[in-house]
Structures are given as structure tokens and as C-alpha cells.
Symmetry: C2
Subunit: 185 residues, 2 copies
DNA sequence: CGCTGAACGGATCGGCGATCCGTTTATCCG
DNA sequence: CGGATAAACGGATCGCCGATCCGTTCAGCG
């Protein structure tokens, strides 16, 4: 890649990171380009769609969360690991506004740029869930898809200004429904 | 109101009802006007904003749900009443696509056309919740705001194509977290 | 150096919600 | 019944959006 193209690309991602954190995933592309000091066409050449831009922005975060799941999968308590990972996932979503809807759409559409990252993340969560279920500390009638859906719902609550103040407590409520406490044999 | 105005207004609401059910709350206003056989300006004169249109469309549903809550508040079991009302609320949201985000925004903004309807609905739910809490069959560390948020989150899940298949089961999961079973004294 | 293809961005397109304003028409009253 | 009048109408227009086109510029290599 040419040096000037690389510079513009990096600048666009930096600007997009700030803008998405402040104004959410629906920020105007034209505005993004202006803030980065490039033309709209340049932005759209580097990232042909809004989704492609967000993919580049979010990919590393997804990979970190997936790695975190694998790290926790090797830790002592299956219950603690699952709970800690849920917490990490939900709190991460507060970084970018509107990211939850994006993920829900990406999981649905196999052609989405984010599809692979999302399914990998979901699978990582499923493994943590299954381990906790095997240990008898997570309710057995849940699967990975449903765990992912619950994470998304909690993240969505945190994204809504009206519900955000309750989001922390509601996380505890839902977590208590997922985790069943120590094994009862 | 002049007879022709009344006719157009009714026609617009009919068309909007279908369109919102099919394509969600973000349907193009221009398209709505076309489908109703009127000019865009006519649609916007009757309903100055999209929100005003949706308010007219949803108001009666809100009133029905509120009335249903009051009816259930007089029924036998506090637990059954709360559960039945939650079910009614969540299943109603499947009628119109995208309505959940609208409600979350309306609760936040006191100037919204839907604000009053939403707060009334929330208060109606809070009364059912408090009755179940007094009977010891709902967890005590929840308030009306949080109950409303949980309903919205479940409704949101049902609105996402990727999560909709799990929505029914997840309702049971979350409901089990709200309800604590028969009073344990 | 000079060439050349990659990268650039202004201009343009169709679509959106909102607004303006000249035209039509339902309604009321003489 | 017929004319006045205000209400209702909708085409045209505005500023915004994302997307695309295409002539210009310049980075990098032989």
C-alpha cells in the first residue's frame, strides 16, 4: 500500500474510533471524511460501506474478547470464568454506541464483514457456557446462541440512554438466571 | 375536520399500519404517502413527524395494554397476573417492527409524543410488580423502571431476526429471574 | 530523473424528511 | 342553488445522506 494511502487509512480509523464512541455507528460518512481531512470518495475507497469501516474498527476488539474467553476457559472456576467473560463482553460494548444492533445483523447475514468475528465470539462463549453446565453451575437449557442473545440484549440496554442506569443491576439479574450457583449434584 | 381530510387521515393510518408491520418503523414517509395515494405534504400535514404518525398508530395499543394491566391487577394470583401481563406486552411488540427502540427513546424524552403513553404503561407494570413483590413471588430488588427495561430487552430480542427464534425461551429464562416462585415466608 | 498507475477529491446521482406556495375543493351562508 | 372562503391538497424545492464517476495529482520505481 502506498504511504499516503496508509496514512489516510490510519487517520480515518482514528477519527472513526472517536466519532463512533461519541455519536454511535450512524455517524455521517461525509462528516467522518471531513474530520479526517480527506474527500468522501477516499473514505469510501478505503471502506466501501459503513459496515466495512466498522469491521476494521471492531475486529481487534472481537479478537481480544475471543482470546479472553480462551484464557478464562483454562482458569479455575467454570462459573467465575463465565461470569467474568459475560462482564467483559457487556462492558466492552459501552465503548462504541450502537454496536449491538450491528452484531445482531452480522450474525444473521453470512455475507457480512463482521459475520465471522461474531460467530467465533459466540462459539467461544458457548464453550465457557458448556463448561459451566458440565460443572452444574449454569442452567442446562441454554445454548451458545441464547447466551449470545442475552449478552446482546444486556448490551442493548446499556446502549439506550433511558435504560443505561439500570443496566448494571439488570446484568446481575440476568446473570443470576444463567448461573445456578454451586453444583447441587 | 373536513370529510376529505378525515378520509385521507384514515387511509394514511391504514397504510402505515401495514407498512410498519411489514417493514418496520423506518419505512419511507414518501413511500407511505404514495401507497396511500396522497402527496408527501399531505402525510406530513396530518402527522408532522414520523413520531407523530407512530403515536397515532400505537396509542390505542398502549391503552389496551394499560387497561389489561389494571384488569389483571384485580385477578387472583399476583404472580400469574404479572407473568401474563409480561407475556402480553412482549407478544404485542411483535406486531410492529422496530417499536422497541421507539419506546426506549420516548421514555427518555419528555417532549416525545409517546412519552406519556410509555410512562403510563410503565407505571401499570410497576403496580403489578409491587403486588407480586408484596406476595413474595417476585424478586424484591427490582423496580418498575427495571421491569420496563427487561420487557424492552425481550421485545428487542424478538425484533432481531437472528435472535427471534430464541426469544420465546429467553422470555422464560428472564421471567424465572423476575419471579421467585410461591412465597417462601 | 521521467513514467505510470495508484490514490485523490470535486461533482453528480437518487433518495430521504421537511418546507413553501400556488391550486383545488368541501363547506357554509345568503 | 350559487358564490365566497378557508381548509386541504400536492408538486417543487431545500439540505442532508450514501454511493459513484471521472479528470487531476503525485508517490514510487526503473
Amino acid at each position: 500500500m502506498r504511504a499516503d494511502a496508509r496514512k489516510n487509512r490510519d487517520q480515518l480509523l482514528t477519527v472513526a474510533r472517536e466519532a463512533v464512541a461519541e455519536q454511535g455507528v450512524d455517524t455521517s460518512m461525509r462528516d467522518l471524511a471531513r474530520r479526517a481531512g480527506v474527500g468522501l470518495a477516499t473514505l469510501l475507497r478505503h471502506f466501501p460501506t459503513r459496515e466495512a469501516l466498522l469491521d476494521a474498527l471492531l475486529r481487534t476488539s472481537f479478537e481480544e474478547l475471543t482470546a479472553r474467553a480462551e484464557e478464562l476457559a483454562a482458569s479455575g472456576s467454570a462459573e467465575d470464568a463465565l461470569l467474568a467473560w459475560l462482564r467483559d463482553c457487556v462492558s466492552w460494548t459501552t465503548t462504541y454506541r450502537g454496536v449491538t444492533v450491528l452484531m445482531a445483523a452480522a450474525i444473521e447475514d453470512p455475507d457480512s464483514a463482521l459475520h465471522a468475528s461474531c460467530t467465533t465470539l459466540r462459539a467461544a462463549g458457548a464453550r465457557l457456557l458448556e463448561r459451566a453446565q458440565a460443572a452444574g453451575t449454569a442452567r442446562g437449557d441454554l445454548d451458545g446462541d441464547e447466551l449470545f442473545a442475552l449478552i446482546a440484549a444486556l448490551a442493548w440496554l446499556g446502549d439506550q440512554p433511558s435504560f443505561a442506569p439500570s443496566a448494571g443491576h439488570l446484568f446481575e439479574v440476568v446473570a443470576s438466571a444463567i448461573l445456578t450457583g454451586p453444583a447441587r449434584v
